[in-house]
Every structure is written in structure tokens, then in C-alpha cells.
């Protein structure tokens, strides 16, 4: 998705928040363009939820500013509340109410008239694929279904910005895919989304821009490609030959200055592929080696995170 010409929907400058001696947010700066899905990736305790709570007006930051759609959050919290929808980490629904009654109640809090609200509920239930279960009590729903209603409750007032705080925690892969579809559909309609998670595959799939958070700091920011480029982590290129002798492998290895391993007829190379690919392929063609299969393993967020923080994402 191209957002070059889009307006800045979110602008956070020098945002800090401490709880006693604990610095939950340390001078956070970020910008999100309209219609962008912005991923906030970090382990538990990184400061993602504190950031969402500040964005949602629930928590007052110690310093810094937040502008949403050009509106200063500190000055106009009530305007902001109507502008944003928030999907909290926990399933915040009344278990003994039906899905419809839950949505009706949460919608009424935004002062939406009943007719418009009912229409909105029907649309959202259709979007999340639960229109047939709308009259069932939430307590009869599966975890994944509850998660979808949890998202629906944040959409009733048609917010421009959706803040999603780890919306897929504890759901099965099928429900996760359904939730991803919902998010992608919302994004297609132009909604700006901030998505926090500690699952890198979610960010890789959904987000245009990613910020990696650790211990209250944003330690890296950009598109996945940019992050991969900027990191010094080399990709893994695996080439399987029809045959390759020990001498041929030895000659091949001497030709390049990066790590090359051999396993039967397959050789693995840890290198910057964009830079080395032409040289590798030229050597193979010139030496009449016959390729059977090529596999390219890109550097992923997990490896980037590991490199940046020295720890695993789900520690």
C-alpha cells in the first residue's frame, strides 16, 4: 500500500511515562499516515499497552504530545475518544449479554441513535462473520468468536483510527486468520490501524510500517524491507545441485568470502543476496553446475529483534 501522499493521521512526539522508578515509555516519537497499518512489536513489558493507554486518553503521559488527525489529545480528549476505536487486550464484554446486546450497549455510549446503531451493528456482524450468532450469549462463544466481537465493539462509532492491543492473544490459527481478514477489510476501507503484538508473523503479514519496542524505547522503525535492509543480518540462500563434487564445492567456497556449508548436493550461503546473487549465478553457469532447487530465507523480525536487543521476542 502506498501512503506517500497521505496525511499524517498520528503524530507522537517525545512521549514519556513513568510509574514510580519504572520508565514505561521513554521519549517515543512516531508518525502514522492515513490508511496505514502500523505494527508495534515488542515483548511483554516493552511498553506497548502503556502506549495504547496514553493514546486512548486513559493514561496521562508525563511529557510529550499526541496529535490524532491534527487534534491535540491533551486538549481535546473527548474529540479524540470519538475519533478512535480501541480493542483492548482482554475480552471486555458482558458474558451474560448476547453479542447484539453487547454491541448495542457499547454503541449507545457514543450517543449513536438507535436506528443508525442497529444498522451499524448488522454491518459489523456481517464483516466479522457472526451475524448468525448475534443473539447468542457471549459466554457460549469460542475464544476466537469473542475476540471478533471484542473488535466489533470498537468499530460501532466508525472510528478513523483503530488501536488494537494484542487482539489475537490465545486464539487458534483459524480464528486468527479470520481476525486478519477483518483487519485487512477495515484497512481497505481506509482505516488507520495501530496494531501491537509480540507475534512477528502477524506484523509481517499485516503491517506497512513497524516499530520495534523494548523497555519503553522504540529501537527500530520502518517498513519490513527497510528494517531488513538496515539490519546487518545476512539472508540464507540454499542451492541444490544435481551433483557437486568435493573439488567443485571447494572451488566454489574459495570464490566467495561468506559462510558456505555443504550438505550432500546442497550448499547454504549466508550473504546479502541482492549484492551477491549475480556473482553466484555467474559462477554456477560458467562452471556448468546444474541447479535443481533454490531457496531464499529472508532475515525476519525475530532475527532482527534478536540482533537489536540480544533477546528473543517471546522471552
Amino acid at each position: 500500500m502506498h501512503h506517500q501522499n497521505k496525511i499524517k493521521m498520528i503524530k507522537v512526539s517525545n512521549l514519556s511515562k513513568t510509574f514510580g522508578d519504572f520508565k514505561a515509555l521513554n521519549n517515543i516519537n512516531l508518525e502514522v499516515k492515513e490508511g496505514e497499518i502500523f505494527g508495534l512489536l515488542g515483548p511483554n513489558g516493552a511498553g506497548k499497552s502503556t502506549f495504547i493507554n496514553c493514546m486512548s486518553t486513559l493514561l496521562k503521559a508525563d511529557s510529550g504530545t499526541i496529535f490524532l488527525n491534527g487534534i491535540d489529545l491533551n486538549k481535546h480528549p473527548n474529540k479524540i475518544k470519538k475519533l478512535i476505536g480501541i480493542v483492548p487486550q482482554e475480552i471486555s464484554l458482558y458474558e451474560n449479554f448476547s453479542a447484539f446486546d453487547n454491541l448495542l450497549f457499547f454503541g449507545k455510549l457514543y450517543g449513536i441513535d438507535k436506528k443508525t446503531l442497529i444498522k451499524s451493528i448488522e454491518e459489523i456482524l456481517l464483516l466479522i462473520g457472526l451475524e448468525n450468532r448475534k443473539n447468542d450469549l457471549i459466554k457460549t462463544y469460542s475464544g476466537g468468536m469473542k475476540r471478533r466481537i471484542n473488535i466489533a465493539a470498537a468499530l460501532l462509532h466508525k472510528p478513523k483510527i483503530l488501536l488494537m492491543d494484542e487482539p489475537t492473544v490465545g486464539v487458534d490459527p483459524q480464528s486468527r486468520n479470520q481476525i486478519f481478514s477483518v483487519i485487512e477489510n477495515l484497512n481497505k476501507k481506509g482505516m488507520t490501524i495501530i496494531y501491537t503484538t509480540h507475534y512477528m508473523e502477524e506484523v509481517e503479514r499485516l503491517c506497512d510500517t513497524i516499530a520495534i519496542m523494548d523497555a519503553g524505547n522504540i529501537i527500530a522503525k520502518g517498513s519490513l524491507t527497510a528494517l531488513q535492509k538496515n539490519s546487518n543480518i545476512k539472508e540464507l540462500l540454499k542451492i541444490k545441485f544435481e551433483t557437486i563434487t568435493n573439488q567443485q564445492f571447494h572451488d566454489f567456497k574459495n570464490q566467495f568470502d561468506f559462510n558456505i556449508l555443504q550438505k550432500d548436493c546442497e550448499i547454504s550461503m549466508q550473504c546479502t543476496i541482492e549484492k551477491e546473487l549475480n556473482n553466484i549465478l555467474s559462477y554456477i553457469i560458467n562452471n556448468h553446475l546444474k541447479i535443481v532447487d533454490i531457496d531464499r530465507k529472508k532475515a525476519n523480525l525475530e532475527t532482527i529483534f534478536l540482533q537489536l536487543t540480544g533477546k528473543k521476542l517471546r522471552d
Binding site: 486512548s56 486513559l58 458474558e95
Partner: protein, 407 residues
């Protein structure tokens, strides 16, 4: 193995402060309270005294003499006042009784006629009245009856045995009036008058009023604390966070919860009094308007108090321990468990700090003392004040705790 499990459970138990409080502190607190309530401990002679109003309409030396004698009784604290003030005070339940020494008291003693003594009392405080009557009779007998009997016999002897010598008469009088088991017993009677409105003389059922008023307010406090606890459930379940995400203000959330508690409190009181009317014939229609206003005031005070409890608790578990302790204490002090009149005067004074007291006494005012709506207003005012103050404190605590909720 059993030992290991037992030690583990004991460690768990003693590490749970709430369990320790409920197991040890709460019973100790209640024992202390009940001991105070029944006058078992900590009562000085002054505190054990019953306040008795006295109204001397005779203003003779004999009446002053009785005044002095009564004032010397250890168990009674005598307060002189006018008849009108005294009757009003007793009718409103402020004092248990007024002893009226009517005009002609001295003359009656000197002539041996019926002594014009009257005890106007609050019928809702039967136990106190009984105790008072016993103490008064003993003293008045000592003071008055010997003289009355003497005069009676003297009159009889003068009339029937006109020629009797003074010496003979004295011997007869000495013999008859010195006999402890003789005629001097029960010659003086105190006229007992229950202080009620003239048009509503039907004797109220005090036991029923106490049972309905006392129980309903105590149970109401428990159920409102439970309803208010829903707010903590919302906090723990995350729905409170969603309410706070919306444009709702924190006061709207709190007062919304309080409104629900108020409605349920009203319904609960209506059902309880309706049941008392249907099953036991409690005359709820005698002054329905006052009853409705009082029920609304009690419901408001209790709902606010329930929300206050919720505001100071951080978790559901904390609330259940806290509400048990505070509600049981207030109910013990305020007269829900033990009728107020059965408590010593110091406890009756302390009782005013509890919501139960104002509610229960309000219901006594309607069903037992038959006070008019205007006379009921001070109690209603206090209940409304309790409600307003509790609401303001709850709102402040709720707002202050909001930040903590989000951490």
C-alpha cells in the same frame, strides 16, 4: 504427608490477611461490640443510667422531696422539663419516659387519696420502661406509701373510733405501717400512659417493626455492596476499561452504577415491606407518603454507602471482607441485630454513626411513634446527607483509583 499438607495449608492461611481478619479479628470485633451493646463491659455507672424526664406540676415541698429522692437513684439520670417539651421528646423517641407529678400531689399524700403520678412512656422501648417502672415504684413506695397508708388508717380511725386516745392511735399506726408485708404494699400506683398520637392509639407491633426495619436495612446493605461489587467485576473483567474508552465521564459511570443500586434497593425495600404487610399485617398504608419518602431516603443512603464500600476496595475479595466487617459492625451498633432500647445509653449515642440507626428509627417514627411527615423530616434530612456525603467521597476515591486501574 498429612503433616506436610497441613503445614502448607496453615502457611497459605496465615499469608492471606483477609482470611486471618475474618477468622480472628472480625469475631473479636463483634464480641466486643455485642458486649458493649448488652452493657457487659466498659460501662461506668454514669453510662448505665436511664435518662428520665420529670415534670413537677405541683411544685410543693413534697414534690420537691420526691424529686430529690428520685435523683439519688443510681440507675436514673433525672432531667426536669415542661410537660409539653417532655411529651414531645418522648413521642419522638428522644427519651424513654416522663414522670409527671400532677397538681395535688402533696394534698393527695396528706389526705391519703390516690397519688396523681403519671408515667408517659415510649411504647417502643418496652424493656427500658419496665426497668424504669420497677426502680421508680420501689423508691416512690419508700417515700410516699407509708405516709399515705398512715393517713388512710388515721382517717378511718378518726371516723369509726372517734373516742380513741392519741396514744392508742399511735400504737396502731406504728404497728400497721411498720409491717413490711403489710398494707403499705402497692397502695401507690403510677398511671402508665403510652405516648401516641391521639388518633392512632392502636398498639403497634414493636417486634414486627424491629424485625422488618432492622433486617431489611442490614440485608439491603449486603445486597447493595454486592451490586456495587459489579463495578469491581467490570474492572477485573475489563469492561470498565471499555466504558472509560468511551466519551462517558467517570462520574457518569459511578452514578450510573449507583442509580442501578438505588433502584434495586427501592425494589428490595418495597418487597420487604409489602411482604410484612401481606404476611404480618404491618400497617404500611397508615402514612404511605411518609413511608415512601423514608424508603427512598434509606435506599439512597444505603446505595451511596454501598458504592462507598466499592470505592475503597481494590478487588472483589477485598470488598467481601470489608463489607462483611463494616456492615456487621454498623448493624450491631445501629440496632439491626439488637433493638436499640436494649442497649446502654452510650451505645445508643454511638448508634447515630450508622445508616441503620437513622433508617430503623425512621421506621419506628412512622409505625410506632406515628410522627407526622414534618416531624420525620430531620431523619430524612440526615439520611439524604449521608447519601450525598458518601456519593461525593465515592466519586473522589473512584477518580483517584482510576489511574491505578490502568497501571
Amino acid at each position: 504427608m498429612i503433616k506436610i499438607i497441613a503445614i502448607k495449608d496453615l502457611k497459605l492461611f496465615f499469608s492471606d490477611r483477609k482470611s486471618v481478619i475474618i477468622t480472628f479479628i472480625l469475631p473479636i470485633l463483634l464480641i466486643t461490640l455485642f458486649a458493649f451493646a448488652f452493657g457487659g463491659i466498659g460501662q461506668s455507672d454514669e453510662n448505665k443510667k436511664i435518662d428520665l424526664l420529670i415534670c413537677d406540676l405541683d411544685k410543693s415541698s413534697a414534690s420537691k422531696d420526691l424529686n430529690k429522692a428520685l435523683d439519688s437513684i443510681k440507675g436514673i439520670h433525672l432531667i426536669s422539663t415542661t410537660l409539653e417539651k417532655a411529651s414531645n421528646a418522648v413521642r419522638k423517641g428522644k427519651y424513654v419516659a416522663v414522670l409527671v407529678l400532677h397538681k395535688g400531689y402533696e394534698k393527695a399524700i396528706n389526705t391519703g387519696n390516690e397519688i396523681p403520678l403519671e408515667l408517659k412512656y415510649d411504647q417502643s422501648r418496652a424493656i427500658e420502661v419496665g426497668m424504669l417502672q420497677a426502680v421508680l415504684m420501689e423508691k416512690i413506695m419508700q417515700k410516699v406509701s407509708k405516709k399515705v397508708v398512715q393517713k388512710n388508717i388515721e382517717g378511718f380511725l378518726d371516723k369509726e373510733f372517734a373516742g380513741m386516745t392519741p396514744n392508742m392511735k399511735k400504737r396502731i399506726l406504728d404497728k400497721t405501717t411498720s409491717n413490711e408485708n403489710g398494707a403499705s404494699k402497692n397502695v401507690v400506683a403510677i398511671k402508665m400512659t403510652a405516648v401516641l398520637k391521639e388518633d392512632k392509639e392502636a398498639a403497634p407491633n414493636y417486634g414486627l417493626i424491629q424485625a422488618v426495619a432492622g433486617t431489611s436495612i442490614m440485608m439491603l446493605l449486603f445486597s447493595i455492596a454486592e451490586i456495587g461489587g459489579g463495578l469491581l467485576d467490570e474492572k477485573e473483567g475489563g469492561t470498565l476499561k471499555r466504558l472509560l474508552y468511551s466519551p462517558l465521564k467517570s462520574r457518569e459511570i459511578l452514578f450510573g452504577k449507583m442509580s442501578a443500586a438505588l433502584i434495586i434497593a427501592l425494589l428490595q425495600l418495597i418487597v420487604m415491606f409489602g411482604f410484612a404487610w401481606l404476611a404480618f399485617g404491618l400497617p404500611i398504608f397508615n402514612d404511605l407518603f411518609s413511608l415512601i419518602i423514608l424508603i427512598i431516603s434509606v435506599a439512597f443512603a444505603v446505595a451511596s454507602f454501598g458504592i462507598f464500600l466499592v470505592s475503597i476496595a481494590k478487588t472483589r475479595k477485598q470488598l467481601s471482607g470489608l463489607s462483611s466487617m463494616i456492615i456487621l459492625t454498623m448493624s450491631a451498633i445501629g440496632g439491626s441485630m439488637i433493638p436499640l432500647f436494649a442497649m446502654p445509653s452510650i451505645m445508643q449515642k454511638i448508634a447515630v454513626i450508622s445508616v441503620n440507626y437513622w433508617g430503623i428509627q425512621g421506621f419506628y417514627d412512622i409505625f410506632a411513634r406515628h410522627l407526622s411527615f414534618t416531624e420525620l423530616l430531620p431523619r430524612i434530612f440526615v439520611l439524604l446527607c449521608i447519601g450525598i456525603v458518601m456519593s461525593i467521597i465515592s466519586l473522589r476515591l473512584f477518580k483517584r483509583n482510576l489511574l491505578k486501574m490502568m497501571n
